[in-house]
């Protein structure tokens, strides 16, 4: 067969082919990515879209878990103070109940009880950011307010819940009435007001009833704090799981999208050699012809 070498067509075709390979390898090395266009590996691109979505979901859960952890920590702190104050009120009431008390000392105890009540109202109306922690889903309304001499719960029983991982909800806004009243006929604050009055009047049965109400409030607060603690631990566990899942998803994404740099560099060197060889072959093919030997 006659062989006709066309330097423009054959030579440039060979040069362009090797140049394309080199450009592809160089792009992988410089970008660190195996996929630089959706046509590079469409099946891998689809999987990568899925992995990006998975990572975004995990990031959103992590962000929510962090937000939940902050609010639960705040609630936990408030509840610790709440419990301590109830304990203090119980201790004060016990001191006031003794036979050695004088009207002056009882007045001081009663005043102390009222100060505890004031502080506990402050606790139950604590806010995280702009939201009340113990008003259920009525987060913009203080949990308890005094109206016409009576304490009224202004929130609701529906907790605000955050989803810290798929299917796991934690309550970050609590039912204040369940904390302050539970199944009692009166709430903690009314009970404290009544207790202060009973101490003023040295009404021993009423003081005992007030102390019983404080004991029940203490139990309720401890129970609520326990639940918060469980949610805090669950949130921490969820955060750890999310982090592990994120790492795994990132690994899968990297396998799909990122270049194997050692392989890419080897390919780039190989393409460089091929390119030089093509240049050499083309130039040598054009260097000589029979015309050079005709005298």
């Amino acid at each position: 067969m006659r062989v006709v070498h066309d330097v423009i067509r054959d030579g440039l075709f060979a040069i362009n082919s090797t140049l394309e390979q080199m450009a592809e390898a160089r792009q992988q090395v410089t970008t660190g990515r195996r996929i630089n266009a959706i046509s590079d590996d469409p099946a891998a691109v689809v999987q990568a879209v899925g992995e990006h979505a998975t990572m975004a979901t995990l990031d959103a859960y992590t962000s929510t878990a962090n937000a939940a952890a902050a609010r639960l920590a705040a609630a936990d702190t408030v509840l610790t103070g709440f419990i301590n104050k109830i304990s203090g009120a119980i201790t004060t009431a016990a001191a006031a109940r003794g036979s050695m008390s004088t009207p002056e000392s009882r007045a001081a105890y009663a005043q102390q009880i009222r100060a505890y009540r004031e502080s506990l109202v402050g606790d139950i109306n604590a806010k995280f950011g702009n939201n009340y922690l113990f008003s259920g889903s009525e987060v913009t309304t203080a949990a308890y307010a005094q109206s016409g001499g009576a304490w009224t719960y202004q929130g609701d029983a529906a907790p605000v819940q955050l989803e810290v991982e798929n299917g796991r909800l934690v309550s970050v806004s609590l039912d204040g009435r369940a904390l302050a009243q539970g199944s009692d006929t009166t709430d903690l604050f009314t009970a404290l007001d009544d207790l202060a009055t009973a101490i003023d009047n040295n009404d021993q049965p009423a003081i005992q009833a007030g102390m019983d109400a404080l004991d029940r409030a203490f139990d309720r607060a401890v129970t609520v704090q326990g639940r918060v603690g469980i949610d805090e631990r669950g949130t921490d566990e969820a955060t750890a799981r999310l982090s592990a899942l994120r790492l795994a998803a990132e690994g899968r994404r990297s396998n799909l999208e990122d270049a194997n740099l050692a392989e890419a560099i080897a390919k780039m060197n190989q393409a460089d050699v091929s390119y030089r060889a093509a240049l050499g072959a083309v130039s040598s093919a054009e260097r000589l012809s029979l015309l050079d030997y005709l005298k």
């Binding site: 266009a37 469409p42 691109v45 879209v49 990006h52 979901t57 008003s135 529906a158």
Partner: protein, 458 residues
């Protein structure tokens, strides 16, 4: 004596023939880079002796023949037509793929942004900043849908414009071929190989543009048909293609002699562009529109079950598309929501801290509510990306294959018709030597005649 003069004539004929050989070599060398040029070969014939007393009358030039292989040229035209088809599609799709973006950097990122914004809103449903962010992300997603739809529409318009240009070029080439046919038919024995070369170049370009069929007549004219057999050139007459906008798409319809042949052109650049304009890109548009329609519908369906920041029943979050067609281009956040982020639903009860709807809207990210309830939003986008990506990959692969085959056929064509400088150099030497030998023979005979003449003159 008369024998010697005949020898002189024979030598002169031979010198003339070798000179024509040198001319032919010169012509071949001169046209080594001329597209479509078929190398010429000098066909020599022996002049037989007139009687048994002489060896012969030398040589005569029978023909200067162009070396062509019609079978290879036909195959080459078909392959170039296929290469142009995939090349045109590849060009159109490649410009599209840059606008789709890589995973995590395209419309999927905007979807994630919206879901993330609702997730953040669920963390603090009373936060004005979180609400504003939801609106901003919704607007960003809408703009992404709009931009993608516009790019698809733009790609269709670009393809239409390129087809219009190709139609004009086809008409010019058809006129040129008809004109060259006329010259070939009316040559009256004059060498027409140069005209055939020019016609070959025009036919090759025509095949690249529209994948034509060529039939060469006995008189040398080439009849050209387009599509399944619509005459484009018959002898010296060319038929014109015309392109008129159709309603309502405004895309051009190609007719020849009043007959719509748009769907009949299936190869060449025009075939590739028509397929891109009328099938591939509309397919993408439909898929994107369906995605946008389903997404807006599902999102609104959930959004309207909630209560806005004012405690009122919420309306649509996105403007509800009236139909699937055009849903991506018309995708927009509800004007009321866009102007007042308090109208974003977050609560399922109306209580200001209730975040169930915000949570549910964020969880829509993982819900298979699209593509007939089989895909999440990311999966639906992935399906779209896969379709475009695999179409481009297929076009790239086909283009490579066609280019390789076309290159091999081009080499085959060159092995029959191409000019080899080495070969021409060999012929140059051969004709030169033959010319020198004939000249020496002429000198020798002339010398013999002189000898005879001197004998007579004594």
């Amino acid at each position: 004596m008369s024998g010697l003069f005949q020898s002189l004539t024979s030598a002169a004929n031979a010198m003339d023939a070798q000179r024509m050989g040198l001319d032919t070599v010169g012509q071949n060398m001169a046209n080594v880079n001329t597209p479509g040029y078929a190398r010429r070969r000098l066909i020599l014939g022996e002049l037989p002796p007139t009687s048994w007393k002489n060896a012969g009358r030398g040589v005569e030039v029978l023909q200067i023949q162009a070396q062509r292989d019609r079978y290879i040229e036909d195959r080459l035209r078909r392959e170039q037509s296929g290469a142009s088809y995939t090349g045109a599609q590849l060009q159109g799709l490649s410009s599209l793929q840059t606008s789709i973006g890589l995973p995590g950097a395209g419309l999927d990122a905007r979807l994630s942004g919206l879901f993330d914004a609702f997730s953040t809103l669920a963390n603090d449903v009373t936060s004005p900043t979180a609400r504003d962010n939801v609106v901003a992300q919704g607007r960003s997603l809408a703009l992404s849908f709009n931009a993608m739809a516009e790019r698809l529409a733009g790609a269709r318009r670009d393809a239409d414009g390129a087809i219009r240009g190709a139609v004009d070029e086809v008409n010019q080439l058809a006129e040129e071929i008809a004109h060259l046919n006329d010259k070939i038919v009316s040559a009256n024995g004059v060498d027409t190989e140069a005209i055939r070369d020019r016609r070959g170049v025009a036919l090759t370009r025509l095949a690249e543009l529209a994948g034509v069929n060529v039939v060469e007549r006995a008189d040398g004219a080439a009849d050209v048909s387009i599509g399944p057999g619509f005459a484009l050139v018959v002898g010296a007459h060319a038929f014109q293609l015309s392109m008129t906008p159709s309603s309502p798409s405004a895309m051009g319809v190609i007719t020849i002699g009043g007959i719509d042949i748009t769907s009949q052109i299936a190869t060449g650049t025009m075939g590739g562009l028509l397929d891109l304009r009328d099938t591939v890109l509309p397919g993408y548009q439909t898929q994107l529109d369906q995605f946008a329609f389903d997404f807006a519908t599902q999102f609104n369906a959930l959004h309207t079950t909630g209560f806005d920041g004012n405690g009122n029943a919420a309306g649509d979050f996105f403007v509800q598309p009236g139909a699937v067609a055009g849903a991506a281009a018309a995708f927009a956040i509800d004007p009321g929501v866009a102007g007042n982020s308090l109208l974003v639903a977050g609560s399922a009860t109306g209580a200001p801290g209730n975040n169930e709807i915000a949570r549910d809207l964020a969880a829509l990210r993982d819900a298979r509510v699209l593509s007939g309830g089989t895909a999440t939003a990311a999966e639906a986008w992935g399906q779209f990306v896969y379709r475009v990506g695999s179409d481009i990959a297929t076009a790239e692969s086909d283009d490579d294959t066609h280019s390789q085959v076309a290159l091999q056929l081009q080499k085959l064509r060159d092995s029959a018709s191409g000019v080899s400088m080495d070969e021409e150099a060999a012929w140059l030497m051969k004709y030169q030597r033959a010319y020198e030998a004939s000249a020496r023979y002429f000198t020798t005979v002339n010398s013999a005649i002189e000898t005879l003449m001197q004998m007579v003159m004594r």
